[in-house]
Amino acid sequence: MELALIALLGGCLALDATSVGQFMLSRPLVAGALTGWMLGDPALGLLIGTVLELYLLVSFPSGGARFPEGTTATVVAVATASASSAPGALPVAIAIGLVWGQVGGFSITALRRANGFIVPEPADSRADARRVAAAHLGAVGLDFVRGALITGTGVAIGRLMILRLAEAWPIGERESFALMLAGGAVSVGILLHDLGGFRERRVLFVAGLALGIVGVRLL
């Protein structure tokens, strides 16, 4: 029952990524919090959502670009981590989530190819309002099913794997979290690169760095 509910949540959130609205409910930060809340552990959901938001800062649904599906990655990671209280639950769940996010990305590419066969051709004389609406809404429905199936499968596999892997995790929680943060630092670097690079943005970056350190000390 719980797996079905998680799959439904994954399907709904996957819709937000491209097909419906793009209110950013599908971003890891929000998807993590929602999944954690659904599973009774919002703090875990938010922690994983934050780490994956850091990783996926530079991933957005721009045009036809193939991107790792952050929603699937997050829902799968949170639901997988919630199945274990071992110290390795966080890093192992995040790794599973990242791998499954790629699978989600490939499924989006496949869906977009399939949509090419569903939508009516502009030159087709039989294309009318009813056929256009049916094809379009059918494609939205297909995206929901895709999101739910990918999420459900990912959680089922992830929960099987984590029970074995997380128990035997040999390094401490603090070091594990630092490893996750170090990985996320790459995305932060890429983002600064996208924003103009260090040479162009060094004054703003250093000012922000000082502000962040002082802010932490004051609060």
């Binding site: 094809a135 630092a185 000012a207």
Partner: protein, 249 residues
């Protein structure tokens, strides 16, 4: 415009939220565009089923733009159809605006607004604000900008029709994007600062982890997007190796 009721216009605006619903590599968001136009076309062509179907087919053509700024083209195309503009002009207009609306939207929203709001939310979380506040701030701030852009674009298109390009130029969206990018660069620094110095942050984990994070940051800074996937694979690989080390007797 008299042919269009307030209800039809509202319905088209609401349908614009589904414009990417049938995204495909052939017509991209063409079907979504036609789907959104349907309530308006039904009102405009009323009993003339043949003209209505021909217009629907024209709007099925290949079209792509940023999903939020596609509303500019949607509103303008609706205005052109309501003014009985000839089919070739409508087609030429859509072809002319799709590139600028895509590029402008990508640089304003995906490359500036979304990262800026995400960075703010992440920094707030690291500063210790309650999770529901962080998520609430993220959704409220991001969607304030998102909905403003959608509503403004749709109204501008509907009001100005073919002349909407001038309105777009006067709105100085590219300059706005550049300003938000500057703020985002400051926020990258803020986030780096709170992650370094905050509770549970890198400074508490020890020097080797701090050095590793700085090296990773520099790799991302100079490598750009092409290093994202190899790094993700490396992180997953490292976790797999550490797990295997623990599992092995």
């Amino acid at each position: 415009m008299s042919a269009l009721s307030r209800r039809a216009i509202t319905s088209i605006f609401l349908r614009s939220f589904l414009i990417q619903g049938s995204w495909n590599y052939h017509t991209m968001i063409g079907t979504g565009f036609a789907f959104a136009m349907l309530p308006g076309l039904k009102r405009i062509f009323d009993d003339d089923q043949e003209s209505m179907d021909a217009s629907v087919r024209r709007h099925l053509d290949h079209f792509n733009a940023h999903p939020y700024l596609a509303n500019v083209a949607l509103g303008a195309a609706l205005r052109l159809e309501a003014d009985s503009t000839d089919a070739q002009t409508v087609r030429r207009f859509k072809t002319a605006v799709r590139g600028p609306l895509g590029g402008l939207g990508d640089s304003l929203v995906w490359a500036a607004w979304l990262p800026a709001v995400s960075l703010t939310a992440l920094a707030l979380w690291w500063l210790g604000l309650p999770g529901w506040v962080v998520v609430g701030v993220f959704l409220a701030v991001y969607n304030a900008g998102h909905l403003t852009l959608r509503i403004w674009g749709f109204r501008a298109g509907l009001r100005d029709g073919r002349d909407v390009a001038r309105t777009l130029g006067e709105a100085r969206l590219a300059q706005l994007g550049a300003r938000i990018q500057s703020i985002a660069a400051l926020l990258v620094g803020v986030l780096a600062g709170v992650v370094l110095a905050g509770r549970g942050g890198l400074s508490e984990a020890g020097l080797p982890w701090l050095v590793l994070a700085i090296v990773c940051f520099v790799v991302g800074l100079f490598g750009g997007h092409r290093v994202w996937r190899p790094t993700a694979i490396a992180i997953v690989g490292a976790i797999a190796l550490i797990s295997a080390w623990g599992v092995l007797p």
